[in-house]
C-alpha cells in the first residue's frame, strides 16, 4: 500500500473482527475462500493483485493543448476488494476506470490485470456506465445475455435467468428497457455486466442518475450482489462520499488538475454500515476535509 494510506483502525478503535468475511484473517486468498467456501486450488492460483497500476499518466490532446488527466498514478487492488475512486469532476477517476476497462488504450506507464498488460476490453471485466446503456432494441433478458452470444441458447438462458434473479428483475425479462424505471434499468445493466462472470466489475457512477432514496436502496443491492458473487472485485467511480464510505473496503481519493491520488483511506467498518454511526461520520468528516467541505476550520475574517 502507498505511503499516503492512513491507518485509522488502531486510532479509532474499530472493531475489525466484524468485517465482511466475519473473520479477521487478513490474507486475501483466505478471505476469498471464506466467502466462496470452495476449493483451495483456485485460491492458490490467484495472483496477489487483481489490478496493478504503476506510474500511469494519461494526457488528452484538447483544443487548448494538452490536458493531463492522470499524473503518475500508482494503485494496487486486491482480489475480492471493493474499491471506490472518489473525487470531484475532472479528477480523472472515470478515465482511470476506463483504462482498467480497456476502453482507453493510449497512456504512459503500466496497467496490469492479473499480472497481464491491459490491451483492450474483455469479458473478464464487466463495465457498468453511468447511463444504463441498455440497448433499446433488446428485451431485458436479451440485454443481460448480450455478452453471452457465444453460448448455446439453453446455457445462455440459464445464466441470464440466474442474473435476473440476482438483481430481482425476473418478472421484467420480456420488457424493453424503455419500460423500466431508472433503478431497474441500472440493475439490468449490472446484471449484463456480471453475466459474463467477470473477475472485476467496473462501475462508472452507476447510481449517479438516481434519486436519493432509490440510490440508497441500490447501494444495499450493490453490496448484496458483491457478496453473492464470490471473489468479485469491484472498482466504483463516485463523487458521493457517503456512497463510497457505505460500500468500499478502500477509498482512493483523487484530486484534479492534474489527476493524482491524494490519499487512500481504509474503511474497516462492519457491514452493513449504519450511516448514522459515530465511526461512519468520523470517516466522512475526514474525507470531506479533503474536499474542503467539512466546515472545520473557520476563517477568522468571516467569523463575525
Amino acid at each position: 500500500m502507498t505511503a499516503t494510506a492512513i491507518q485509522l483502525t488502531a486510532a479509532a478503535g474499530f472493531d475489525r473482527t466484524a468485517s465482511r468475511t466475519g473473520s479477521d484473517i487478513p490474507a486475501e486468498s483466505s478471505a476469498k475462500e471464506l466467502r466462496t467456501g470452495s476449493g483451495l486450488p483456485e485460491a492458490v492460483r490467484e495472483p496477489e493483485w487483481r489490478v496493478s497500476i504503476k506510474g500511469l499518466t494519461k494526457i488528452f490532446q484538447g483544443e487548448a493543448g494538452e490536458v493531463v488527466a492522470l499524473n503518475d498514478i500508482d494503485l494496487d487492488i486486491k482480489v475480492g476488494e471493493f474499491v471506490s475512486l472518489l473525487g470531484a469532476s475532472g479528477c480523472g477517476k472515470t478515465t482511470l476506470l476506463r483504462i482498467i476497462g480497456g476502453l482507453e488504450r493510449s497512456f504512459r506507464g503500466e496497467a496490469l490485470l492479473d499480472g497481464a498488460r491491459i490491451a483492450g476490453p474483455g469479458r473478464d471485466r464487466g463495465f457498468v456506465f453511468q447511463d444504463h446503456r441498455l440497448l433499446p432494441w433488446l428485451t431485458v433478458e436479451e440485454n443481460v445475455g448480450f455478452g453471452l452470444s457465444h453460448l448455446k441458447r439453453k446455457e445462455r438462458s440459464e445464466i441470464v435467468g440466474d442474473h435476473l434473479d440476482l438483481v430481482g428483475l425476473r418478472s421484467f425479462a420480456r420488457s424493453y428497457p424503455s419500460q423500466l424505471s431508472g433503478g431497474m434499468a441500472q440493475r439490468a445493466s449490472i446484471a449484463r455486466a456480471l453475466a459474463t462472470d467477470p473477475e472485476i466489475l467496473l462501475l462508472d457512477e452507476p447510481l449517479g442518475a438516481l434519486d436519493a432514496l432509490t440510490r440508497m436502496h441500490m447501494q444495499d443491492e450493490l453490496e448484496r450482489i458483491w457478496k453473492a458473487k464470490a471473489g468479485l472485485t469491484v472498482v466504483m467511480v463516485t463523487h458521493d462520499v457517503d456512497e463510497a464510505l457505505y460500500l468500499s473496503d478502500r477509498i482512493v481519493v483523487l484530486s484534479p488538475r492534474p489527476g493524482t491520488i491524494r490519499r487512500i483511506v481504509d474503511v474497516p467498518l462492519a457491514r452493513p454500515r449504519p450511516r448514522e454511526s459515530y465511526d461512519f461520520n468520523r470517516l466522512k468528516k475526514i474525507l470531506l476535509e479533503d474536499f474542503e467541505l467539512s466546515h472545520k476550520e473557520i476563517q477568522p475574517e468571516f467569523a463575525i
Partner: protein, 267 residues
C-alpha cells in the same frame, strides 16, 4: 397483448373532418348541380358501374403490382447502398456528393430515357418507382448508420465485439428508426411517382386509366373515384407499413415513439 393497439384505442376525432367535408360536398353539389363538380351519389354510382365489370379491380391490381415491385426494389437497393455508404467513409466520399447531385434531377425527367431503354412494358415504370423509393431510403439508412450513438458502440466495445459483430449487433439495429422513416417517406413519394409514370407513358392499364377515361368522356365522377382510390390505397399502405415496422422483433421501434410522446406530454 390481446388485441392490437389500433383496435383498442379507437380514436374518432380524426374522422370528424372527413365527415364534415363529405356532408358539405353532398349538400353543395345537390343544391348547385354542375358537370364540373359531380355529387357523391354519382361518384358512388360510377364506382359501382366500373367495379361490377371488374374493371376497377383490374386497374387497382395493375397499379399495385407495378408499385410493389418498384417500391420493394427501391427499398432493398436503397438500404444496401445506404448501409455501404454508412459503414465506409471511403465509399461515402466517393459516392455521396454524386448521389446528392444525381437525385436533384426530377424523376419524371427520366421518363423518355427509361422508355427507350426499358421498352413499353411495365419495366420503365417499375424502375422509375424504384428510383423514387431508392433515394429517401438510401439517405436515411446512411444517416442512421452515421448517427449510431457513441454510447452504444462503446457497449459493443466493452463486450469485445469485432467490427463485423458491431455492425450486425449494434449499428444495424440502432439505425432501424432511420430506415423506418426512410421507407415511410419513400412510400408516399413512390406512390406519387406511380401516377406520374402511368400518365406520362402510353399503354396503361393502371388506376390513372380512370383519370384518362373521366377526362376523355367528360365524366368527372370517374376522376373522383380515381382520386379517392389513390388516396385511400395510399393511406392504407402507409398504415400497413407502419404496422409492419412494429411487429415481432420490431416492437421496440413503435414502443419508443409512444414513450417519447408520453414523456413529451408530461414535461
Amino acid at each position: 397483448m390481446s388485441s392490437p393497439d389500433f383496435i383498442r384505442k379507437f380514436e374518432w376525432k380524426g374522422w370528424v373532418l372527413p365527415l364534415v367535408l363529405l356532408l358539405a360536398w353532398t349538400v353543395w353539389t345537390n343544391v348547385h348541380p354542375s358537370l364540373l363538380f359531380p355529387t357523391p351519389q354519382k361518384t358512388v354510382a360510377a364506382f359501382q358501374e366500373y367495379s361490377s365489370t371488374g374493371a376497377i379491380w383490374h386497374f387497382i391490381g395493375t397499379s399495385l403490382r407495378r408499385f410493389s415491385y418498384g417500391f420493394l426494389l427501391g427499398c432493398v437497393a436503397g438500404f444496401l447502398a445506404g448501409a455501404a455508404l454508412g459503414s465506409s467513409i471511403w465509399l461515402e466520399r466517393f459516392f455521396l456528393p454524386n448521389i446528392q447531385a444525381f437525385r436533384q434531377v426530377p424523376l419524371v425527367g427520366w421518363v423518355p430515357l427509361l422508355v427507350l431503354w426499358f421498352g413499353l412494358g411495365d419495366s420503365p415504370r417499375v424502375v422509375l418507382i424504384a428510383m423514387g423509393a431508392f433515394f429517401p431510403v438510401l439517405l436515411n439508412t446512411w444517416a442512421g448508420f452515421r448517427n449510431v450513438p457513441r454510447n452504444y458502440r462503446e457497449v459493443g466495445a466493452a463486450f469485445g465485439l469485432t467490427r463485423l459483430q458491431t455492425l450486425r449487433r449494434i449499428v444495424l439495429p440502432a439505425s432501424l428508426p432511420w430506415v423506418r422513416s426512410g421507407t415511410i417517406l419513400s412510400l408516399t413519394f413512390s406512390w406519387t411517382i406511380l401516377v406520374a409514370s402511368e400518365i406520362l407513358t402510353e399503354t396503361n392499364g393502371g388506376l390513372s386509366d380512370l383519370l384518362d377515361l373521366g377526362r376523355e368522356r367528360f365524366r368527372l365522377e370517374l376522376v373522383n373515384v380515381a382520386i379517392i382510390l389513390l388516396g385511400g390505397i395510399g393511406f392504407l399502405m402507409n398504415f400497413g407499413l407502419e404496422r409492419v415496422w412494429s411487429i415481432g422483433r420490431l416492437r421496440w421501434l413503435s414502443q419508443n415513439i409512444h414513450n417519447q410522446s408520453k414523456r413529451g406530454q408530461t414535461t
